[in-house]
């Protein structure tokens, strides 16, 4: 079992850095039915949005980690980062809508040079802001004051931690990540995050460390609360369990470990019609670092743009986006398997 993290696919000039190659590799796997057929059986074809509630802004692919399952192919060797001008387009779009929640993601969103400015602007609009944080960035010298900054602006921290132990965490995210993550969580707790009554919400996100679906979210949350407090004195508000979608670096790992075919077939077999109404692509719109719009962060990484004339945040028009068809492909089976998976955890 290899444990080394590698540079990004892009830096290695891997064929899998191409979205077209990723989609072709998925299409080559024999499966029983395609995603549109599964949706049709669930009476959800074509898939359309519900009310737009969340704008998810991916502010760039720069990250201080190179996790082996990353669907963004993020890392220290990436340079894509959202400009202040594109952020201003996002702010203008938000000012004219009913959207109340903004979900900041990356890469490590905090490594965008305009991150703090963006958070301040969003909060001044009265919006709820979520920061998808890898935790270790909070322990790097230039960014240690982020803990106090996030608390001051009452940003919800949605932090990645695959396991309550070092073994699984470091295998997925790199040597030493667990120790730094625990240190960051203790500092977040110290300023009031995870307290329950403070209003500073701290959510942990776990992705399986391998070719299987996540366990029961409620059951794992109870165990994690007990174990993180027992082992490290750490408190948090909720645990989200997310499935790994078979794209980008997780796709590379699936292929290399000989698990691609069985994993994709398992996702297809585990299709759960009850997950469809709660899929994040129905109430969330995804903005890329360059301002282009997508149905979700996964479609963004596969460069599957919106089926709409509104392709960029500068031309944002909520009414024009309401009746579009959501673009789907085989990777979508990752969000509908078992209890379902979304940026808010299990769907059912």
């Amino acid at each position: 079992m290899g444990r080394r993290t590698l540079p990004s696919l892009a830096a290695r000039e891997s064929p899998l850095s191409s979205p077209a190659t990723q989609l072709a590799r998925l299409r080559a796997v024999p499966i029983d039915r395609e995603f549109p057929e599964a949706l049709a059986r669930a009476e959800h074809w074509p898939l359309r949005p519900s009310r737009l509630e969340i704008l998810q802004i991916n502010v760039g692919k720069v990250c201080n980690q190179t996790c082996r399952h990353c669907h963004v192919d993020a890392g220290p060797d990436r340079t894509e980062s959202m400009s202040r001008e594109t952020m201003e387009h996002c702010l203008r779009a938000l000012a004219g809508t009913e959207i109340r929640t903004v979900d900041l993601t990356g890469g490590a969103p905090e490594l965008n040079p305009h991150f703090r400015w963006l958070v301040e602007q969003l909060r001044s609009l009265g919006l709820h802001v979520m920061d998808r944080c890898n935790l270790t960035v909070l322990e790097t010298a230039p960014h240690r004051s982020l803990v106090e900054f996030l608390a001051h602006h009452r940003v919800e921290v949605v932090a990645s931690l695959p396991s309550v132990r070092a073994l699984g965490t470091d295998r997925q995210r790199g040597e030493g990540v667990f120790e730094a993550s625990i240190a960051a969580l203790k500092r977040l707790n110290a300023v009031g995050y995870g307290d329950g009554g403070s209003g500073l919400r701290l959510v942990l996100v776990t992705n399986p460390v391998g070719a299987f679906l996540p366990g029961n979210q409620a059951s794992l949350q109870a165990e994690w609360k007990r174990e993180l407090f027992r082992l490290h004195g750490i408190r948090f508000d909720a645990l989200y369990t997310l499935a790994n979608l078979p794209i980008s670096r997780f796709l590379e790992w699936l292929e290399g470990s000989g698990n691609l075919e069985s994993y994709l077939q398992h996702l297809v077999q585990a299709f759960n019609p009850a997950t469809v109404s709660g899929l994040m692509c129905r109430n969330t719109l995804s903005v890329g670092w360059d301002g282009r719009l997508y149905d979700c962060d996964f479609n963004q990484m596969l460069e599957l743009g919106l089926q709409s004339s509104i392709g960029h945040i500068a031309r944002f028009d909520v009414a024009a986006l309401e009746n579009r068809e959501i673009r789907v492909a085989r990777h979508c089976f990752g969000c509908t398997a078992g209890a379902g998976s979304s940026c808010g955890g299990a769907v059912t």
């Binding site: 073994l167 366990g215 029961n216 059951s219």
Partner: protein
């Protein structure tokens, strides 16, 4: 039945339901009961998967070891927990042998001088 070189084939695990092709009434009772046993209850599904993994090692059933290695991971258990479960099975097996040494001692006490 075609000749095969081994008693155990991993593909056979998927064929377990074929046991119901005869006396399906008995198979149905078994599979219904099996599903009820592993449902969430006073013990969580994850705890039951770890017990099953330990028992699989105690009875040394390769089908069960495969099935419950996968199931324990799927239920959110990690390799440390799974390894501890296997040690529990090994400890009970080892302890079971050793505690029978008391019977040996009883026989020696009765027969010896």
């Amino acid at each position: 039945m075609h000749p095969r070189p081994h008693y155990f084939h991993c593909d056979d695990l998927q064929r377990f339901p074929e046991i119901g092709e005869n006396r399906s009434d008995l198979a149905k009772k078994f599979f219904d009961w099996y599903a009820a046993v592993f449902a969430e209850g006073a013990l969580s599904v994850r705890e039951k998967s770890l017990i099953a993994l330990a028992v699989a090692h105690a009875v040394q059933c390769p089908y069960c070891i495969e099935a419950y290695s996968k199931e324990a991971l799927q239920q959110g258990a990690d390799l440390d927990q799974m390894t501890e479960a296997v040690h529990v099975a090994a400890a009970i097996r080892g302890g079971s042998s050793l505690v029978h040494g008391v019977q040996m001692r009883n026989h020696v006490e009765r027969l010896g001088m």
